[in-house]
Each structure stands twice: as structure tokens, then as C-alpha cells.
Symmetry: C2
Subunit: 356 residues, 2 copies
């Protein structure tokens, strides 16, 4: 029956970073869609919204008044998932073997921050200039450094939910940073994989991956001297990308000025292409993976700064990919291949469709 065709035959691909698999079904892109349609984001927002709890000078739900900030603005989340002030968890005495074995608990202290990217209610990363994005990176770096030097917490997870479909309840450009005393599962898995790979091959998995992808640019989307954005071979979300430092750099605080402006440049170019793909404000969750603020063992040496972008849209501004039944019970499944997705992102223009 001929030879195996990556564009037509089903296969699984292995993700060496999280030690997991994804099922790829490239022939399935023909499927008609009769299900839920997503709302596209409003557009035509004002630069200032008196009802927005993130705009400068406004009062937040729990009472505090925002300063009249002019660039970025950081504050502690009014409904934080973790808090600094709670008693330590101690396992009750006399817990028998079965309870201790099957009902394992760890107390988790921490702090949750909200970080506004801009005083303007109606911009997003792709509509900001490179210096403005650099300013966001600087804000992240200051916060990372502050948590590193002033707390005993383990990890600072910086992430952005963009778009109502990604659970974002306010279009004012912002991200969050959750600082926790435990290392969250995803970076923990990555450190296990980086450690295993290093022990086995003597090199950094992500340094090797950057090198490999540059040999044959089928999955590359944008790059400059210091950073590369690509659809990873093992991508789960239709237009998922991975932004990698080209050199082995552990965290934000280790960046040179050149690296910082190169990262801002790649973020801008990537998110412009995302918006242009379906001429909509492209929803996603994105986040940074870097060295723990309080690293243990070999974590600082292993760490290789990168960002994940997980966008849900599949075919146009209103049709998303659902990772549901088979994905939740069996394993993640995708339709178009990583190479097809990269080709689509490369094919759109570099200039934002709203600015043409």
C-alpha cells in the first residue's frame, strides 16, 4: 500500500521535554464542523474603560485604587490562588498506612501577581512596539529577581491567558505570575527530562533541539540572532509554538541587553503572525519556563529559557480545537501536522493586519 505519508497517515510523535506522546491524524483536517462557534473578541475597544479594574486610576473589585501608571503596573491578585499567610500543613498523627499512602497532601504558600503590560486598554503584545515589549520583559525580570532575593519560594510561573476562549475575563493587556513554594508539575517534568537527557547524551536537550531544527527549517516560524520560534515536532495545539533561547541561558536575569531586545522582537513578530493568521486577536495561553527562583541540585545548570504558546484556534477565528474525550482519557490528538502549521504561520504577512 505504498510508503508512509506524513501528510496522510496517522502517527504518534514523542515529546522528549515532558516524556509524553501526541497522536497526529493529518487526513482528518477535511472534517466538517457543526459544533460550537467561538465569539471573536470585540475589537474597537477604547484606550481607557471606566469599568475596567486594570485601567490606571480605576478602583478594583476589592477596593484598592490603581495608580495612574504610564508603562507597566504590578500588583498582588485580589483573588490569589495561593497566599503567604497560612499555617503550615502537618499530617495528623495516627494516620494509618492506607491514608498516608493514598491521600497525600502538601501545604502550598505563595503569592499571585497581576502584571499590566500597558496603561492602554486596547493594545495587545502584537500591537506594542519592541521597546514597549522590552519594558514588559524588564518588569518580569525585576519581579523574578525580587522573589528570588526576598522569598524562600521555589518557582515563579509567569503566564498570559489571552482571549475569552482562554478564560481571560478582561481584555486589558496583562499577564499573571504565580509564585509558589513547590515546583509546579510542568517545569518539574521538564527538569526530569533535561536531567535524564544530559546524563545519557552529555548535552542539553534544548540546545540539541535548536541545532537540529536549524538544519532543516520546516518547523521554524521566526528567528533572529538570539531566539527562535518554531512549531515543535511534538506540538499538541494546532498552532502551538516554542520560543527558545539559541544559547544555553537559564533565566531572565541572565539575559544580555541584546538577548532581551531579540526576545521582544521575536515575541512581536510571532504574535503579529498569529493575529494575521485568521485576522483576529489570536487567543492563547503562553508562559515562561526558566530556572526556579530558588533552585536545588543541578536545576540552574540544566535550565534553558523558553516560552510555550498554546493557542486553541484550528480553522478560522471561530472554530477551535477541543482537547476533550479521547484527549482527556486516552492521549492528545491533533489534525494538521506541525510542519503544515509552521508553513501556514510563515505564509502570512509580517505587518499586523490592523496597521496596514
Amino acid at each position: 500500500t505504498g510508503t508512509f505519508d506524513f501528510n496522510n497517515d496517522s502517527h504518534r510523535r514523542y515529546n522528549p521535554l515532558t516524556d509524553s506522546w501526541v497522536l497526529v491524524s493529518p487526513h482528518r483536517t477535511q472534517r466538517p464542523w457543526q459544533g460550537q462557534q467561538e465569539k471573536t473578541s470585540a475589537g474597537g475597544l477604547p484606550a481607557y474603560d471606566a469599568t475596567c479594574y486594570l485601567c490606571p486610576g480605576n478602583t478594583r473589585a476589592t477596593g484598592p485604587i490603581n495608580p495612574k501608571y504610564e508603562s507597566t503596573f504590578v500588583f498582588v491578585n485580589d483573588y490569589a490562588a495561593v497566599k503567604v499567610d497560612q499555617p503550615p500543613y502537618e499530617q495528623a498523627d495516627g494516620e494509618d498506612g492506607l491514608r498516608a499512602r493514598l491521600l497525600q497532601v502538601q501545604g502550598t504558600r505563595g503569592t499571585c501577581f497581576v502584571i499590566c503590560f500597558s496603561p492602554k486598554h486596547n493594545v495587545t503584545l502584537p500591537l506594542m512596539s519592541v521597546p514597549e515589549i522590552e519594558n514588559v520583559l524588564d518588569t518580569w525580570t525585576v519581579l523574578y529577581n525580587k522573589m528570588k532575593t526576598e522569598t524562600a519560594f521555589r518557582y515563579l510561573q509567569i503566564f498570559e491567558n489571552k482571549g475569552a476562549v482562554m478564560g481571560c475575563s478582561n481584555p486589558h493587556p496583562h499577564c499573571q505570575a504565580w509564585c509558589t513554594e513547590s515546583l509546579p508539575s510542568e517545569p518539574a517534568k521538564e527538569f526530569t527530562s533535561l536531567r535524564f537527557y544530559k546524563a545519557k547524551h552529555g548535552t542539553c536537550l534544548l540546545c540539541d533541539y535548536v541545532m537540529l531544527e536549524q538544519q532543516d527549517p520546516v518547523r521554524i516560524v521566526v528567528q533572529n540572532e538570539s531566539f527562535i520560534a518554531l512549531v515543535p515536532f511534538w506540538a499538541v495545539w494546532p498552532f502551538e509554538t516554542l520560543v527558545l533561547a539559541k544559547s544555553h541561558t537559564a533565566s531572565l536575569v541572565d539575559f544580555s541587553p541584546k538577548q532581551k531586545s531579540d526576545l521582544a522582537d521575536v515575541i512581536q513578530k510571532l504574535t503579529i503572525r498569529y493575529d494575521n493568521l485568521f485576522e483576529t486577536s489570536f487567543p492563547y495561553s503562553m508562559g515562561l519556563h526558566q530556572a526556579p527562583i530558588n533552585p536545588v541540585e543541578d536545576e540552574s545548570q540544566l535550565s534553558h529559557f523558553h516560552m510555550h504558546f498554546y493557542p486553541p484556534l484550528l480553522r478560522g477565528a471561530t472554530v477551535r480545537k477541543f482537547l476533550v474525550g479521547f484527549e482527556m482519557l486516552g492521549e492528545p490528538q491533533r489534525d494538521l501536522t506541525a510542519e503544515q502549521a509552521a508553513q501556514r504561520i510563515r505564509a502570512v504577512e509580517e505587518v499586523h493586519y490592523l496597521l496596514k
Copy 2:
């Protein structure tokens, strides 16, 4: 600062079945919601819909005509994610070390089935009688047995996506069954955990868990002689449940008639309670985990039949939990505790709100 309070202090809980963690933030249920509102399912559907591709006698998108079936109906998915007929994948010669290491692929053959629960367009499991649900279980059992005896595929993943919010594009009551030559990641992780636990403690993790939960019924939702439905200690989704066989039974084909009717009874009672919780057709993805159809090593002995229900709703029929930024980049996070969720599901009536 007092003693640790499970209803107010953040903590992580360990899932021994998949070797993962969930962050629990019980104080966070106070958070107001200004984000996306879900549509509730239409309701008032007709028993027959001429435009439905699953109703008896109708023509499907790709041409075939459905028989005038009177109970359940099984057919091969017209847009299957895996197919029987494709060439085997062979790794190209001369692939250097880096490619072989970082771009790992497996060809995946298989078959995808659609299983209609009923000829009636306007019923769902909670609106079906126990004998009608038993008939669905029989249909699953026949398919499982057929795949087991007639194919060399490894696993049959039976799952249902219910509701538009869970990517279901047709309200006609149906589920899917994807049969694949590889063991999908989720059951694979579970077998690893069951094996590890058995080696360490000499017993079955899930037999022990059933025993433990019965000692203190805070997380139990419904039970009968053969099955128990509970919110697992490590639940991620707000009202997630786990339905467990009380005795160590490997798969559908091992059920006694009593077990089969008891499972139908628990499924009916659980899904009625789900619908009553917010007086809406409660969306979820659910699925069965059982022995592989072609088990290897100790998988048959390790297997303990169970079902997972993953429902997205958090507070009312239109407000869902989003597992996004922190959950995708860091680790899953939930607001109310498993015990609070179980209490809420127990507190509603046993009779379906539409049938009162």
C-alpha cells in the same frame, strides 16, 4: 496563625493513579466571574431530527444511510482519527543520532467507531432507564470482545463528549470508541502506577482506594453493591468523579449480570444528580479505563475497571472552569475541595428535574 484548614488554605494533592499533582485553592471560590458565559444546551429537542446525521434512516455527510435502528447503533466514524489501511512507518535510513533521538515517531493504525445510545434524538444517559443503559453496556461489551478477538490492536478507548462546551457537535446521544495499535498515554500511566503500587505494597491501588473511601464517606456520591461513584481526593475538574468497580474486575467482558445492572444503576443515578446540580444538561467528557484488548505482561491482572467523568462547569450552567495558563504551564488548579464538591452532588435530588 492557627491550624491548617482544608477549607481555606491552599494545598497540593497527589494523584497516585497518574503520578501527578493538583493545586487546591479553596478560599478562591469567592472570586467574581466577568468572563465568558457558556450557552446552555437548547432543550426541547424533537425525538427525531431530519437534519441529524445520527437519527435512524438519515443520510450521513459522506453518503451512507443509517438503518432504522431501534436500540443502539454502531458504525465506523466517517472522519476517523486512525484507519486500518495505511503503510507501516519505517524510520528512514541514515537518520543521524540527533534526529532519531529528538524526532521519534510511531505509525498508528486503528479504527474509530461511533455508538448511538438510542434512536431518540432527545434523550441522554440520565433520561434513559436502567435497562436501556444496560443495553448500552452490552453494546460496548460486544464491540470490546469483537476487537479483542478479531484484531491485533492494543486498546479500545470508549468515551463520550457531552455538550457543545465539550466539543460535541451533535446532541443525539452517542459516544465514540477509538481502537489503536498503541496503548494511549493515560491508561499507560495508570498501568505504570498500578504496577508500581502492587510491587511496593502487594495490593491493588484501586481496591485499596475503594476500601479507604468507604471508611469515611465524605467523597462518596452514590454506590450500590458492585460500584461506587466518588469525587476522587485528587480531582482536577470541579465536579469530577471516578466510578469504581468494588471488586477487582479487569474489563467489561468480565462483568456478571449483577455487576452490569449495578453499573447501569450508578451511571443513571450519577448523571441525574449532575443534571440536577445546575438544572441543565450537564456537559462532560467521560470514558472507561479497563484491560487492553490485547494485554501484555501483567496488564490483565493489574487492570481494575473504572470510569472517569470530567465535567467543566464550576458555578451554574453558564460558568465553567478554565484549565488554562497556570494549569497548562504550571499545574492543574481547582477552587472548591473534592469534599465540598461531593457534598454538593449528594445534596441534590435523586429524581431528574425534568421528570418531576
